[in-house]
């Protein structure tokens, strides 16, 4: 039989956990990280990927991008503002260039959150195989700017940070 003191101890424990979650967990930072990790997951494909999966994936990437997004990736000779509607075109071009691709975000950190904006930085580990069979395995430091629109964090800028400069 559960005695009264166990009930009290249990209640205090639950209250302590709830208080910790409420005051010490940065839920917005978690949401930003979740959105970016999800983006990395959607930016992956293999030759075996079927059309339906590809369309679903592209739609998921589109949902994470704001109406316009500034992309600056000098390693890939990209510096332009892309529209959300252009995402399928760019991903199709990328898929024609790389037969498989995977991106993993390491050391993902939210640098600042000032609602409705947030900044995050990560080391993107990009592994890809070109259509010519050449393997590409590189790490880039990427900075993201996000804006909270309709309760969803959307990416407004992607910028490669220089670790070494020539």
């Amino acid at each position: 039989m559960v005695t009264k003191k166990y009930w009290i101890a249990g209640t205090i424990l639950v209250a302590a956990v709830a208080a910790f979650m409420l005051f010490f967990v940065d839920w917005e930072a978690r949401a930003v990280k979740k959105q970016l990790r999800s983006l990395a997951g959607e930016m992956a494909w293999s030759p075996a990927e079927n059309q339906i999966t590809a369309v679903t994936r592209i739609k998921a990437v589109q949902d994470k991008i704001s109406e316009t997004c500034q992309v600056y990736l000098p390693s890939y000779r990209i510096s332009q503002i892309i529209s959300r509607n252009d995402v399928p075109t760019y991903l199709t071009i990328a898929k024609n260039y790389y037969k498989d691709l995977s991106i993993k975000f390491e050391d993902l950190k939210v640098e600042s959150i000032q609602l409705p904006q947030a900044r995050a930085i990560t080391t993107a580990r990009v592994r890809a195989t070109g259509i010519d069979g050449l393997k590409n395995d590189e790490a880039l430091v990427i900075g993201f700017e996000l804006r909270k629109i309709d309760k969803k964090w959307q990416i407004v800028s992607v910028e490669e940070k220089q670790v070494v400069e020539r």
């Binding site: 790490a139 990427i142 070494v164």
Partner: protein, 152 residues
């Protein structure tokens, strides 16, 4: 098992965590840019206290922090702040003088225009110069980005 046993286990676990998180950070080398000195797949530790009392200087091999310490670059320091670095037909020139680089093996045909290393920066490059300069990550990096040096 006594409470003393659990305390000893806890102390060992915490010490190991602190040492391998902040002092000797284990890492696995991936990539060929430091071959043949360091080959892909080999294991090492980043000694994070290496530059506590000194500054990186040629020909030190250093680990360079990216967004954090899970993925780092492994490169060799070839020049420090104020020096002018240049590659001519694969040879390294510092302030106009040709430098001997016994750690570089294989043919190299790099040509890189002279660049002066900024204050607070060092110039880093990999030992594998057989790869084209376009595909090799090298150049100036802030000293503050240097996380440490490989233990061996």
């Amino acid at each position: 098992m006594t409470s003393g046993y659990f305390i000893r286990v806890a102390v060992v676990a915490i010490t190991a965590f602190m040492v391998f998180k902040y002092v000797l950070i284990p890492f696995r080398i991936q990539g060929e840019s430091m071959a043949p000195t360091y080959v892909t797949g080999s294991f090492n530790f980043c000694f994070a206290l290496r530059y506590m009392l000194s500054k990186p200087a040629p020909p030190d091999v250093v680990t360079i922090r990216m967004a954090g310490q899970k993925v780092m670059l492994l490169k060799r320091v070839v020049a420090i702040e104020g020096q002018t670095v240049e590659f001519r037909e694969g040879n390294l020139f510092l302030d106009g003088r040709k430098m001997a680089e016994p750690y570089v093996k294989g043919q190299c045909d790099w040509n890189v225009l002279p660049v002066k290393v900024k204050t607070g920066y060092v110039y880093v490059v990999g030992d594998n110069r057989t790869m084209p300069a376009d595909t090799h990550t090298f150049g100036q990096t802030p000293v503050s980005r240097i996380a440490g040096a490989p233990l061996w």
